[in-house]
Amino acid sequence: MKRISIIGAGNVGTNTAFFIAEKRAAKVLLVDIKDGVAAGKSLDLMEAGPVRDYVTSIRGTVKIDDIADSDVVIITAGRVRKPGERREDLYRDNAPTVRAIAEDIRRLAPAAVVINQVEPIDLLTLLIQETLGADRMKVIGVGGLLTSTRIRYLVSNALGVSSREVTGLIIGPHHSSMVFLRDTIRVSGIPAAALLGEARLGELIEEARTAGDKILDLAQRSTSFYAPGAAAAMLVDAIVGNTRALLPVSVRCEGEYGITGLAIGVPAYIGEQGVTGILQLKLSDADREAFDKAAAELKSAHAGLVAGAA
């Protein structure tokens, strides 16, 4: 069985373990520096197992050394975004923790595929990859996949159809500047624009763009965690099953979409080794322009942070 370690036993980490257990066989390790939290949540999940037919084992620990030889490591440790916060400020707070975790992974599980759930996704995914010194294809940020599941839901809800057949790709930074590839938003292959009208689809896209903020506003003290947990579990499915599912994720580009040395959202095939290929689509002029502008902003945020750190 594959060994999957989840670092951070907060809501996102624990729900990732939960979604994995509901669907597949794996050995899951939940790690948290807070004494007893990971152990307590793991025990609670395992005690649901007899009723829910789990074949997955879940164990909690405070010892990071237990992640040794994991096949997949998921990083969820970091503080969540505050309403309206700039990505640079969040980065300054989360980067030290994430860098330290990446160093542990380099030492203990250097062959693992690493999934980053910590915001700002693109900047920290790059930081993890640089710290690991690993193959860039083995470090994946959950960005577009989360927004993709949101637009899929919103489209299905607006049409009154089931969401399983709805697709939708998002590229660019995991940020309000993300670019929705309208033509990929479809139901059983039928363009959603033909079913909903361009204007209504546009409204839903704007709703999906700010969906994270809406949940933050509604729940007040917490950000969303079910959809992010489901997105990470979906990546685990693709990695463990080596399915080569086409999913929008943040990965360091070296020439793809004209980007070099930055992690950014692109459509990628996901398999046992992480990203097994980046799908380079021909973008419309408008999408190209929006993507380039968003990427330039991300690049400049990154340059500012690097200069600040030096």
């Binding site: 159809v161 479809r186 139901v187 292959g189 099953g241 399915t243 599912a245 095939y269 799908l279 689509l281």
Partner: protein, 314 residues
Amino acid sequence: MSKNKVSIIGAGNVGATATYYIAEKVIADLVMVDVAGGMTQAKALDFLQAGPLRGYDVSIVGTSDFSQIADSNVVVITAGLPRKPGMDRMDLLKVNAEIVKQAARAIADHAPNAIVIAVSNPLDIMCHVALRSTGFALRRVVGMAGILDSTRFRYFVAEQLGCALSSVHAMVLGGHGDQMVPLPRLTTVGGVPITELMEAATIARLVDRTRKGGAEIVALLKTGSAYYAPAASVAEMVEAVITDRKHLAPCAAYVRGEYGINDLFIGVPAILGKNGVERIVELDLADDERAQLLASADAVRKGVEELNSFFKPT
């Protein structure tokens, strides 16, 4: 909410395997009806004895008594003969029309509120038989074809690209036969049309293989025909109705003017839910796609005319 009940008429490979897929989803009690009562009872018992291991606590009855389908939410008609060597098309049509008619009349008698899913071949024609012999409202009778044709197309695309099956969606319209109309521009990987991912010649090869998907399996098996993918397609449709999933998928539905076709069962995108075909989705088709669909409809219409030459619904 009373427990859902699904009946399958015809407990051959397609019927029994569909029963298996539905039992595994634990969404309904099941009844298999077949003139071969002992065989059907045996299959039901065998399934029930697998239940403790597979974790399905549904009731499964095997019987030759049609009255057991009473109060089903969904009835699937899989009964029918395969074409035997030397049998001509018309003979097969007559034999299967009679079998489906008997099934349909039993449904009208015992399960008057059911949604009917026709599976027997020739599919589009048997939908007409089921509709006329049940006397049900048009939207309560639907045929299983497009989901099967599109699951085959999806598999071929995923295999060709080496990508996950779950990332591929496909749309195949028209009658269930050589003249089906696979639509590559509405067949996607993660929403990206395959026309952007593959050469035209490759797509043409996969389209052709999809058209001949049933025949490919028959040729390999020598005796018998496909049943796993057909049964999975049946289970998908049953699930859509039982769970009211509003599943947008290609199905053989009765069109009255949609796509410029009148009074015919033909494969079109439809939303499946608890009321059967809840909506037919009309797409803008390109000229060549429309021409193919109309040609396919003509072929189905010819079959219906053959049926009309002898068929009495009651």
